[in-house]
Every structure is written in C-alpha cells, then in structure tokens.
Amino acid sequence: MVETHYVPFLPWSLSWLAPFVGALIIAVAWMLKVKDERVYGYTSVLSILVSAIVSSYAAANVLSKGPLYAGRDLTWVSWLGISLGTYYDGLSALMAVVVSWVSLLIAVYSVKYMEGDWGYGRYFFFFTFFVGSMMLLVLADNLILLFIGWEGTGLCSYALIGHWYTDEEDKWVGRPGRRVLGYPMYFEPSHSGVRAILFTRIGDLGFLVGIAVLYMVAGTFNIVALTSAAPEWLSSLASKGILSATLLILTLGALAKSAQFPFHEWLVTAMTGPTPISALIHAATMVKAGIYLFLRLTPILLAGAFALTTTNSYTLVSAQLQEYFTIVAYIGAFTAFMLASMALVSDELKLILAYSTASQIGYMFLGASASGLLLGMVAEGVVSGFSHLVSHAIFKAALFLVAGWLIHVAHSRFIDPMGGYARHMRLTALALWLAGLSLAGVPPLSGFFSKEMVIHMAYTADPLLAVAAVITAVLTAAYTLRVVVRVLHTPPYSGAGKSLHAGEAPPTMLLPYLALALASVAIGLSWPTISKVYSRMSELTLAVGSPVEAHVELSGLTLVTILVILVTVVAVAILYSILGARPYALAQKAPFDKLYNFLYDRWYGNPIIYMVFLGGGVRATGFLKEADMGIDYFYHSLTPKAGSLGAWILRSLHRGRTEYYIALYLISVAVIILVLLLTR
C-alpha cells in the first residue's frame, strides 16, 4: 500500500470549492440583477478552470507520490464524525480531472450557445453548482459529503432540465401528441425536470438507507475508515443475512443516478434541457456519479472479503456478495441491450444519444461487477469500468455538443429534417465521425479499447453476459452509423430548405467538440501509454492497490467483436448512403410496425410506470381525499350534532311547571338516599 500524504485543506480542496464559490458569486450577481452576461459566463468558466487546474495538479501528484488527503481534521459535524475532507486517490483524482476538464469545455461552449437566453444567469449558476457538486461527490472523503454532492447534482439537473420552464413546444422531447396506453409520450421541460428529480430521488433515499445501515454497523461515514473496517462490517451484515439487501438498497442510488433499468426513464426525457446540459449530464456529471460510486464501492467490498478468506464468515460474505454482484451485472447488461435497441429506431437526435448513454453505462456496471462475480480481478474490473467511463465522457460530450449545433442549424430536434451537412461543415463532420466511431467501438479509437476490456471481463465472469455485451456492441455500431450517415451524407427526409444556411459553428463552440473528438483519437492511439496510467491508477486506488495485469494478446473473442462491429459499420454506411435505404417504409408494415412501435415507445416502460405509480398515486390520493372528507364529516358534522342532541335532551328536562321541579327534586333526594343505603 502506498503511503497517503496529508495536505492542507486549501488549496487542495479548491477543486470542488472553486465552482461553489463561482456559483455563489453568480447567485449574488443574479440577485443584484446584473444584466451583463459576461459576468456570469466568465465567472463560471474561470471557477471551473481553477478546479480543473487544481485537480490536474493533484492528479499529477497522486500519480507520482501517492494518495493525497486534504482537510481530514477540518471537522464539520463532530457527532457523526464528518470532516470536510478531500481525498485524492487514483480513482478520484483521475475522475476529477475528467469531470473538470470536460465540464470546462462544455462551459466554454455554453457561453456562446446560451447567448441572449432569458435565463442566462440562472443557467450558469446551476451549471457551476452542478460541477462543484460533482467534484465534491468525486473527492469527498466520507459518504455524507458524497451524498451532498450527489444531491447537488440532482438539484441542478432538475433545474437545468427544466431550464426553459415556460414549456414552449420546440423545447419538448418526444413527438407531440403521441400517446401510448393513454399516457403521453412527449414531455415538457418542467415535467422532465420533475421526473428527473423524483426518479433519482428514489435511488438517493435507498442510498441514504444503505449508508445509515453501514454507519450503524461500522460507526463511521469515512470512506477510508470504512475500507479498513470492511471485514468487520461485512461479516456482521452477512451474519444477519442482510449484506446483499443492504448493498442493493445502497446501490439503488447508483442505479437511479446512472439511469439503469428500471430508472432509465428520467434520463431519456432529460433532453428538454439546453444541449450543453445534456452533454454535462451525460458525459461528465450526474449519470457518471452512480457508476463512480459503484467503482468506489466494489474494491472495498472485495478487499474486505479477501481479508476474511481464512475466517468462517467468508462463505457467507462471498455468497451474499456474489448474489449482489450478479444482480447488478445483469441489470447492467440488460440496460445496455434494452436502451441500444431503442436507439435503433428513434428519430430525435438527442434522444438517440441519450439511449446510448444509459446503454454505455450498462457496460461500465457490467465491467466492474464482473470482478465481483469472480471475487477477483479487482483492478481489471475497476479499470475496465473506469476507462470506458473516460472514453464515454469524451466522445459523448463531443456528440452532444455537435448535436447542439446541428439542432440549431436544422431548427428541429428530429433527424428527418437533417441531412447532407458534411458539405457545409467539414470540421463538425469530422468531429461527429470520430466521436461516433469511438462510440461504435471501432479500433483504434478510445471507445474500442475500453469496450473491449469490458467484454473481456464479462466473458471471464459469465459468457452469457459477454454475448449480451457483443450483441449490444453490434446494435451500438448500427445506430451510431445510422445517425452519422443520415445527418452528414444523405439528403434530408423532410424540410430540406432549412439546411442551406448551414455552416461551421462559431469558434468557441466548434473548438470544444473538436478538441473532445480529437482527444478520443489521441487516447486510442496512445493506448499503451494510457493503459499504463490506468494501471498506475488502480495501484493507487483505495482498496485496489494492485496494477492491472497486461492483456495484450488478441483473443478470439476480440477478433470476433472487431469483425462484427466493422461489418455492421460498413453495412449500415453503405445501406444508407449508397443504397438510400429507408427502413421507415418497412416499419410501416406488419409485423414490423409492432416491433417498431415497441422500440419507439421504449418497451412501454414509461406507460407502465405511469400506470402503476402515477395512476395508483392518483387513485390513492383520490381515495384519501374522500377519507379526509369523511374524517372531517365525523368531527365537524357528526360530533356537533351529537352535542346539540345532548344539549337538547338535557334542556328539555326543564320545560316543566313548578310542581314538576319539586317532584324531581324529591325523587332525586330519595334515589340518592336509596343508593347510598344500598351501597353502604
């Protein structure tokens, strides 16, 4: 184990603090109703730049010297043992670098993209806060701090997805008017925002319950302390039989944030936000939070289990851990396949990319959980998940930023009015091609290597998972190429006139996505070097502590995968661009229309969820409202009536004449004497 270096809170915590400070400045400016847009944009870019520089410097230090730990003694809440600690180890340091730099590029892009928007100040407040939250989440040394960042991303995604909250139709997602089983399949921004926060909050609460249980068993929220105490709390939980349940409840948070089945629905409608936000959510922050947490957790669990190998509780622990990892692995594989199949037929540019995000994150879960299934190869699992995370962050950010420009040019979020853009914007086309091929997993781009590692891990753990992964890879190649070719090289299907004004994006928008696309190539080309960095990273990561063993040989599986992907890529490209195929015609006919609609309507997931939860909820509220009226009736109608009746009865005893009073009086006296005599 490499020695941890304790460093002061500042400047090392600036990596997450700086964006928060930036957000605070923006908020104050907004409150003071500052009109100048530059104040907001530049503050945001600058604060994120500070964060990026600090985290890069920290990462360099980590890679050369070992983990850094800042602010360990800066107690915040002593009862719960929570400090404002910033913990840089291999995983978190590299993650911080990726998050901050990708966010920075998106921020630069946004400055131009959001120009003239009526919510400019608000946009940059939440944007900056978003980045700060994500950095905090990544670098937090304890689970509560992590949770705060976690919730911060949820809040900001809510605000930014619903940024255009006045709900004009051109800001919607889905085809207006389309309904399935009576439930609309189109969403206004304000609706999507609510969906995003509610869907993810289910997971967040699970996460909270999970860490509460951990705290009760381990007595700490500190991640480092949890790691060293892992054998005890693992065996304690396992002996009660609640280890896998606890972990699953805890992982609900990660699954919801990372839009894994059945929580994927929030992500696909999150497209109502401004496009840079889609890039931010999908590439650098938010959805990466879940998988990051999973990558953080997996080695801790496995290291804890290893430490128990010689003890009696090992069987219990390992059995329950495998149970847990199996579930996660299958969820990941299933999500990857499911969302890729939806992407095949979608006709909204951002929606296709969104499906692809959830699908690709499924890969990451698959890669990391494979090591859990194996109860070994921890470093490989973490590195496969993480490297795919990095590749995905870069190419997906590029794709979304390009999409933002294309949608702007086409005045439409659908791909049908787009087409033939390659002639008008060569550099954009280049970026789209490179990023797209990386997504498709074509060598030698970065996406290829990372996906290859995941498939390899999956194969080692469970061949069935590998089959699912390969099929998904083929689907991925197909839908990616469909988009790239149709948008860049075939004529538009409808509304052709509009594209005539098409041209390159302004430089501050073009450069970010071009840089990202090129980075995708660069990482791929320098893979031997990069993989050494990853190996070093895993060595420096908490609870991993060992380098990745080299997998240089081209296995049969790899060759097959490369082959099918290449065939798909070439076939789709030829099909669309040269043969001019129009599968829409096919989709109109039975039996394909059923399949088409099934996929287009997202496997009916949304209507089912709405029917059960929304419909059930509406019915429940209706019922309770009635019950409430009943309770009200009881208290405010029946009770007073009973009182009035009583009063009437008692008062009507006094409607008599004097003799009657005397009689009553004497009878009362007699009765009392009698009673007293008898009960004496």
């Binding site: 009182g643 009063a647 008692l650 008062r651 009086y665 009765v671 004497i673 009673v675 007293l676 005599l677």
Partner: protein, 461 residues
Amino acid sequence: MLVVEVLLYVTLLSSLIIPPMASLGYHRSRSILAISWAGVVAFLLAAVIVLAYGGVELYSGLVRHDRFTSLILVGAGLSACLALLAIGYDGYRWFSHPAFYSLLPLTLFGTFYLAGAGNVLVVLASWLLVSVASYVLVALPGDSDSRVAAVKYVYVGAVATILIALWASIHVSLREGGLVEVGMLGGGLGEPLALLALVSALSAFGFKVGVVPFHWWLPSVYGRADGRAIAVVAGIAKLGFIAFIVRLATESFTGPGYAPTALAVLAVLTMTYGNVAALTTTDLQRLLAYSSIAHIGYITAAIYVLMLTQPGSSLYKMALAGIALQSIAYTLAKTPLFLLTSEAGRSLESELRGLLARDRLSSISTATLLASLLGIPPLLGFWGKLYMFIPIASLSIVVLVIALVNSGVSSAYYVRALRDITTPPEVVVREVRASYKAALVLGAVATAALGLLAPLILGII
C-alpha cells in the same frame, strides 16, 4: 374583633335603615343609594380586615372565619360593589323600590354569618336570611318573567329549607351531648340517620347552587329572571353556601367512606350536565345559567378532594385556595355578565351580536370575563381551576380527565359567545350604559390583576 363587628353592624344598619326612610317619604332620595353603598363598603372592609388578620372568631366561636372564608367574603364584597355600581339608580324604577338597596347589604350580612357559621343555629338563621333575601331579590324587578321565576324559586326553595332544617335537627341529635357546634357526628356516617343528615345537607346546598340532580329550578330561574337580580343571587349569595358546604365537608363529613364517592359522582354529573346543556344555546343568560352549574361541578369535585385529603397538607391547602380563587373568579365574572344581559340584551344572535363593533371596551371586558370562566391563563379563572385540578389529580385520574375534558368542551360555548360578540352586527341594539360598562371593565381588570397575583398569593391559605 370589635372593628369587624362594628363594620358588620354598619352593613346591617344600612339595610335596616332604608325601609323606614322610604316610608317616611325619602324614597326618591339619593341618599338611599349612598346608604346602601356604605353597607357594602363596610362589608368589604370587614372582609379585607378579616383576611388581613388571617382569621377571626366572633361571639365566642359561633362564627369563625379563616383565610379561606375571608377570601370568599372579599369576593362577595367586590362583586356587590360591582353590582351596586352598575345598577346605580336603576332600582328606583322598580315597583318595590327601596328593597334592592336594603336587601343587598342584608344578603352580605347573612353571607358573613353563613360562611363563618360554626354553630347549627347560626347556620339555620343565616341560611334563612340569605334565602329569603334571594327570593325577594328575584321578584323585585316586577316583570312577569321575574315574578314567575320568583314563585318557582320560593316554592322549590321551601323544600330545601325543610331539608336544611332536617339536617340541623339530625346534627344536633347526633352530636354527643347535644352540642350545636358544627362538627363530627356521633356514630359515624354508617348510621342511617347520619346518612340522612348528609343527604339533606347536600341536597339543600345542591338546591342553592345547582348541583345535579337538585338543580331543576335553576336554569329557568337564572335563565329567565332579570339579570340584575340574578347577578346578586347567582353571583354573590351563592358564595356563602359554598363556604358552608366546605366547612361541613371538612369538619362534619370527613373521612373515607361513601360520602366522598357520592360527591365525586355528583360533581362529574353536574359539570357534564352543565357543559352539555350549554352547548347550543344562543341566549347568554341561559348560557351563564348552565355554566354556573358546570362551575359548581368543578367546585364540588374539589370539595370531594378536601374530604379525602389530610388537612393541612399542601394539596389540601391548594384545593382550598382553588375553591376560593375559583369562587372569586366566578363571582367577578358572573356578576357583571348577568348585569350585561339585563342591560344590553341576552340574545347572542341579535342583541349582543357585534358588541365589539359598537363598544370595544365592553366587548373586550366581556371577552376577558368569559375567558376567565373558561380558564385561560393568566386570568384568575385559570388559577382557580388549576389549583382545584391539581389536588384532584392526586386522587382520581378519572375525575380529573372528565373535569378537564369538560373544560375543553366548554370552550365550545364560551368561544362561540366570543365569536358572536365580534361578528358584525345586523340590527341596531341598545347601548351599554357607562355604569354597566364600568362594572364589566372593573370586573375584567380585577380578574386579570388577581390572575397575575394568584400564583403569589397561594401561600396565604
């Protein structure tokens, strides 16, 4: 205590001097009111002196006052002042004009002896004095309602008088050696005779103050007669009877047995009856009549505690203080409120509605007095209830809960009355004249001031 005696004779004199004066042709003279005032003030002074000295024995023990009874006397004196202040020359218009000014001091005089009576004969004499004064007072205003009420009162009251006489004779016969001091009865309460004494005293007392099931006459008399007369009968004369029954309960009927239980049952019945019956009435005078029953219920519950608690213990003292404070709160609130109903009208839905809008001072005072009756801190009524309920708590949680729930239920009608006072008026109604307003305001101020002092004066009993 010569001073006290002299002051009392002044009271007596003032009441005796008025009828001859009137018959000598001075019945229009303003001096009648002044003489009556002199009697009332003399009584109040006497009461305050007794209170200040911490007790007094007159006529070699025939009349004994301690701090408890003297507190009650002070309350009666204060209310009498309020009544006289409010009524002023109004009584001059009544048919048998000077009677009111004479009977008020006379009632007080009788109350002094009744409250302090240590002797059966004194009890009988003062009982009759106060009773007769009350009967006449009810009839005084001379309208048909008052006359009907007076007839009922006298008719039923005759039975009660027989009962108190019965008590007196049994008491005398059962005291060893035929002593006439109020005290323990020979043979204990197991004797049928002793039991008869208990029931007759209780039912006579119950008649006077309205303990269920001896209360039958009360709603129709309190609820129908002129409020000015009822202010004296219900507000002032009652206090002497309360003091009497407390003495009897503590000195004659003490000790465990069925008597306390019987009292507790009656208390519970009384408070529940009063509160439930008052629930829907929209007639303030009727409301006050029923709420009087409810208040006697609480007091009876406290008397039940006295019977079972060690004399001299802190709980005993607290119960005594509670009864005293509650009686004062009761009289300070009831007297001005009954006066108000005679002055401004009794219907909460028409005549009294919107009092706030036309007369803020009266309405705030009225609200304060109603709140005191309900037992809202820091008014006097709260402390009275609290000091009564705390000792009750030490004995029986059942009685306590019933009492408190009753108190909670009573908020319904008190607050409804408050609501009506603050509702905008629909009809133009009578104004509250300055003298009646003064009684209300002074009553409210006294209630509030004594309420603030109450936690401090607990120690004097």
